[in-house]
């Protein structure tokens, strides 16, 4: 309706001092990307220990270390994005429980605690039974830790593009995509996994890429039919939009190329192609997440 009325009214804003737009930039992209890897490797370790316990056994400690590093990267970028970062403790002493930020901060803290318990069980106590029991609870907690950013985006009611169901699926797929990619790359160093285990990781990577790509394309094609704000937002990645090139670079590197490379690697049993798919997915995921984060902020709210 607005599209038609624009032509009819020829309404032009001639004086406004709109507030600066992009507030959540690359730091938040880093936050989401690092969290995807941090929780994703835990999901993958759980799967490998269930299906290939003998091969994956020696990955208990290295994977926990990777998860700790990436979760701390996530926490680091969370804190440095705050304009008053030294007041971060307010979240723990003045918590407001309706906020996804508060719930996420508490869950992430608990998650870090469980990761250190896993590190203790595998490195100091060397108790696999304790590790595996704790890992189950860590995986359970990793799900809401992965999802809470989707909740935060959904609570950002000004940004119509971010809807909870789609963003939840995107967060989980990002975790399985980056987790499987990180495990494939990890195994190029440790070389403990059989071809079958690596093929499984490749399949998880390809299916995650396919799922995420379908979601993005669905939003791109059908989103504008639902709401005028979504239509206006998606103009930034269509045609000669400001972020069109970056959007498609992200889609190709994160989803299309990894999907094709995994298929080729399985058909030719090529581990090099699998590694390439993993690298492409990790780099592309950052780009696609960044575009999706920024474009709703380019839309004027008033």
């Amino acid at each position: 309706m607005v599209h038609e009325s624009l032509a009819a009214t020829n309404a032009v804003v001639t004086l406004d001092v709109a507030l600066p737009s992009v507030v959540w930039g690359w730091i938040i992209t880093m936050n989401m990307w690092a969290k995807s890897v941090g929780t994703g490797v835990i999901f993958m370790l759980f799967y490998l220990l269930k299906k290939y316990p003998n091969e994956a056994g020696s990955y208990r400690f290295p994977v926990v270390v990777i998860s700790i590093v990436f979760i701390h990267l996530f926490l680091f970028f969370t804190v440095i994005d705050l304009h008053q970062m030294f007041r971060f403790w307010h979240i723990f002493f003045h918590p407001h429980w309706t906020s996804a930020i508060t719930v996420g901060a508490w869950m992430a803290t608990l998650f870090v605690g469980l990761l250190f318990l896993l590190a203790f069980a595998s490195f100091i106590k060397k108790d696999n039974a304790l590790f595996d029991k704790t890992l189950t609870w860590t995986v359970v907690l990793a799900i809401p830790v992965t999802l809470y950013t989707a909740g935060l985006m959904a609570q950002s009611t000004a940004r119509e593009l971010w809807q909870m169901p789609t963003e939840s699926a995107q967060m989980i797929l990002a975790a399985t995509l980056s987790g499987s990619a990180a495990m494939i790359l990890l195994d190029t160093y440790f070389k403990k996994l059989s071809y079958e285990a690596k093929r499984d990781l490749g399949i998880i990577l390809a299916l995650s890429a396919l799922g995420a790509f379908i979601l993005y394309m669905s939003e791109l094609i059908f989103g504008p039919m639902k709401a005028e704000e979504v239509a206006a937002t998606l103009e930034f990645i269509k045609g000669h939009g400001e972020y069109t090139t970056m959007f498609w670079i992200g889609q190709v590197f994160a989803f299309i190329a990894p999907f094709v490379l995994v298929i080729l690697s399985i058909s030719s049993r090529s581990e090099q192609l699998l590694k390439l798919a993993a690298l492409s997915a990790l780099a592309g995921l950052w780009v696609s997440k960044h575009v999706w984060l920024v474009i709703p902020q380019l839309l004027n709210m008033s």
Partner: protein, 212 residues
């Protein structure tokens, strides 16, 4: 008591007195605004007119900024005002992302969120908000929307349904109303923002965050 605001756009002449009064009263830093007046030109020459729309926080009954704030820096006070505690704010900018009206910004001096508070400090002393006092044509009407005898309630009753809020589809239930508004004035997507068409083309913005 639930305090609300009503702007009669038939009366507003775009003098920006309210904008300046707000800046002075609340010491709003350069490049940021708690209240601003948007000009939209409509039509094709010679059949043109200019509309003026004062924009400020809507003090929503179901405020997304209050819900998303992780530390309750944004909170309701008893009279319905959505107030902000700048000492508690951690500057996460969640409220900036949540506000459908673009009414919240990061203060470049304090590095915390800030917005219109309906001059809560003046209201606490039984004074009117600074913008109401400054308006030369009484286009700003402020009062208790739960009291049927208040000026604002009477104005709403007498306006025969010509009372609107911004983005009602968001379900925020704003306590800020407009009389004489339309799609062009209240819907940001209903007007072009053409480069070079602004009356002031060389506005300078200060960086929103010191470390960004």
């Amino acid at each position: 008591m639930k305090l609300g605001f009503l702007v009669d756009l038939h009366l507003c002449m775009g003098c920006k007195g309210c904008e300046i009064a707000c800046k002075v009263e609340n010491e709003v830093p350069l490049s940021t605004w708690r209240l601003r007046v948007k000009y939209v030109d409509v039509g094709t020459f010679p059949e043109t007119k200019r509309t003026f729309t004062p924009l400020r926080c809507n003090h929503c009954e179901n405020a997304p900024c209050e819900r998303i704030c992780p530390v309750s820096a944004l909170h309701y006070i008893e009279n319905g005002i959505v107030n902000i505690d700048k000492e508690r704010c951690i500057g996460c900018a969640g409220c900036v992302m949540a506000c459908p009206y673009g009414a919240i910004y990061i203060d470049p001096e304090t590095q915390t969120a800030d917005k219109c508070t309906y001059c809560a400090h003046r209201v606490a002393s039984s004074m009117m908000p600074a913008c109401v006092v400054a308006c030369p044509v009484e286009a700003n009407i402020f009062g208790d929307i739960e009291d049927p005898t208040s000026n604002i309630s009477k104005y709403i009753q007498q306006s025969n349904g010509d009372v609107q809020v911004r983005k009602p589809e968001k379900g925020t239930n704003p306590h800020h109303f407009y009389v004489g508004g339309g799609n062009v004035t209240l819907n940001p997507l209903a007007s072009h923002r053409v480069e070079g068409y602004s009356l002031f083309n060389k506005l300078t913005h200060l960086p929103i965050g010191g470390h960004h």
